[in-house]
Each structure stands twice: as C-alpha cells, then as structure tokens.
C-alpha cells in the first residue's frame, strides 16, 4: 500500500522535475532569438536571408524541451 502511494507521489514529482526541462528549453530558444536579433540589428540587410536558419535553430532548441514535456505527459498519463 505504501509502495503504491510512493509510486503515485513519485509520478507527480517526476513530472514536476521534467517541467524544468521546458524552462531550460526556454533559455535555449531565447538565446537563439536574442543572438539572431543582435546580429540582425548589426546587419539588417542580411537578416532576411537568415530567417530560415533562425527557425531551424529555434526548432532544434525547442525539440529537447518538447521531449521533457513528453516525459511529463508520459509520467502523468501513461505510467
């Protein structure tokens, strides 16, 4: 009985810990966007051609945050 309760508690704690990953991904995405903006303001004429690169960078940074979200979801609903 106690084991079941501990498992249920651990599930929630684990999901909460996984949410830290989302925050870390937010830092990564902010880094990408901020550096892009810093570069774009230095050389605005080259910025337009680099938006595709910007989005690829954002997507890669974000993917790992989404993985942690997925871990949280799995803990909450699948385990």
């Amino acid at each position: 009985m106690e084991l079941v309760a501990a498992a249920a508690l651990g599930k929630f704690i684990g999901a909460g810990l996984a949410a830290i990953g989302s925050g870390a991904a937010a830092i990564g995405v902010g880094n990408v966007a901020g550096n892009f903006l810093a570069g774009a303001l230095r050389n605005p004429s080259a910025a337009g051609s680099q938006t595709a690169t910007l989005f690829i960078g954002l997507a890669f940074a974000e993917a790992l945050g989404i993985f942690s979200f997925l871990v949280a979801l799995l803990l909450m609903f699948a385990v």
């Binding site: 690829i56 997507a59 993917a63 989404i66 979200f69 997925l70």
Partner: protein, 256 residues
C-alpha cells in the same frame, strides 16, 4: 459537476479534448471506425481541395482573393524548397507542399472551438515524419548509392574523432523522425491543453466568490493564448516543412 469525478479543481479535464471517439454511436475504436480524428482530417483535406480548385479555376491575370491566397501559399513553399534544399529538390515540391498544407489546415481547423486537432496526436505526426524519413533515406541511397554514408563520416574532422562523430551522427539521424513528429504533436497538444486549463478556470465565478477575480483573468489569458496559438499553428507547420527541406538537402548533397 465533473470536478468531483476527477477530484481536481477544474470543471473538466484539459486532456479530454484529445480523446479519439467514434463519430457515430458508442463503442470501441477499430481500424476502420470513423472517428472525430477522421472527420477533422477529412475536413482539412476538403478545405485544401476547395481552396485550390476555386483558386485555380479562374487563372486570372489579376488574381481574385482566393487565387491570391493559393498563389501565395504555392510561391512561399516553392521558394523555401528552392532556397533551402536547392533546385534539384523541386522534384519533391508537390510532396512537401502537400505535407505543409495538411499540417497548416489541421492546425488551424483545430483552433476552432469544439474542434479536434489531428496533428496533436503523435500517431498522425509520426506517419508524416516516417514518410519524410523513408523518402529521405531512399532518395539518399538512390541518388548517391553508398556515397550517402559519407553523411555519417565527417571528412572535415580529425581522423581519430571520426568514428565517435559517426556514432553521434547515426544516432541523430535515427532520432530525426522522433523529434520531427513529437515537436509538432507536442506543440499542438501543449498549446491546446493550456487554453483548456484556463477555460476550465473561467466558469469558477458560478460556484465560488473567488471566481470574480479569477474569471476575467482567465478569459484574458485564453484570448492571449489563442493569439499565440495562431502564431504557433503556422510556425510549427513552417518548421516541419523547413526541416523536411533540410533533410532532403542532406539526402541530395550528403558531402556538405
């Protein structure tokens, strides 16, 4: 109220919207059951067909509004494929354009109230991503033969490092369909769940006095999230498409 049922403070569960249900009657969902997912996928396909049939019927020199939208979408993806993956990749433009339109329309139709978002399900996005993965792998080997394997053998790196890099490259190659599909599904699911969490707080004014403060806040939050979701719905379709182009570029030119 359903609140007692879930044992939480919410009027309904934010994940309820993602349940796949049979469209007609009750019962189990089988392979050929027509579900709400089927309905909304069919609706997005119909909407795409309608846009392009109506849009391309006139073929006017001065485009009508519908024709402008169709031309805009076509030109946007055509340019993206050409810029990112190169001229040779234009052979795959119809495929990429189809994938893009399906994702964009599913995402946007899913934003309608009471709608179901097919792209919030990993099953749907995984099929799209595995399709891209297989296409890229087959095209890579068909175009370059064994030379496609040079994608994993980074010739610009120092020789002792290359086996380690090869291992990392191989792992990252096979993780691609996973991250490709989960990114789209996760974004759609997370955004819709956040809207539903706020939506569940909105009727609090009916059952408790604290709702006088919470209800206006959550309605403002729903509106703000909705605006963000419109942005995300487009950006995720764009990201999915542009990554398809990037992977295709790897397949066509594995050397660099």
């Amino acid at each position: 109220m359903a609140a007692e049922e879930h044992g939480e403070g919410l009027a309904f569960h934010p994940m309820d919207q993602f349940i796949v249900r049979p469209l007609f009657g009750e019962g189990d969902v089988g392979v050929f059951t027509i579900t709400n997912a089927t309905l909304w996928m069919a609706l997005s396909v119909l909407a795409i067909a309608l846009l392009f049939i109506v849009g391309t019927r006139g073929r006017a020199i001065i485009p009508t509004r519908v024709q402008s939208i169709a031309e805009l979408a076509y030109g946007f993806i055509h340019k993206m494929v050409e810029d990112v993956a190169g001229k040779e990749a234009l052979t795959f433009f119809p495929y990429i354009f189809t994938v893009f339109l399906f994702i964009v329309f599913s995402n946007f139709l899913g934003l309608l109230p009471m709608a179901f978002t097919p792209t919030s399900h990993i099953a749907v996005t995984a099929v799209l991503a595995i399709g891209v993965f297989l296409t890229v792998t087959i095209v890579g080997f068909a175009k370059n033969g064994a030379g496609f394997l040079s994608l994993f053998w980074v010739s610009s790196a120092p020789l002792p490092l290359r086996p380690i890099l090869a291992l990392i490259e191989i792992i990252s190659y096979f993780v691609r369909p996973v991250s490709h599909s989960i990114r789209l599904a996760g974004n759609m699911m997370a955004g819709h769940a956040v809207i539903k969490v706020f939506a569940a707080f909105a009727p609090l004014v009916l059952i408790s006095t604290i709702g006088i403060a919470v209800t206006p806040l959550s309605i403002v939050a729903i509106t703000a999230m909705y605006g963000l979701e419109i942005l995300v719905a487009f950006i995720q379709a764009y990201v999915f498409t542009i990554l398809t182009c990037v992977y295709l570029k790897d397949a066509l030119h594995p050397g660099h």
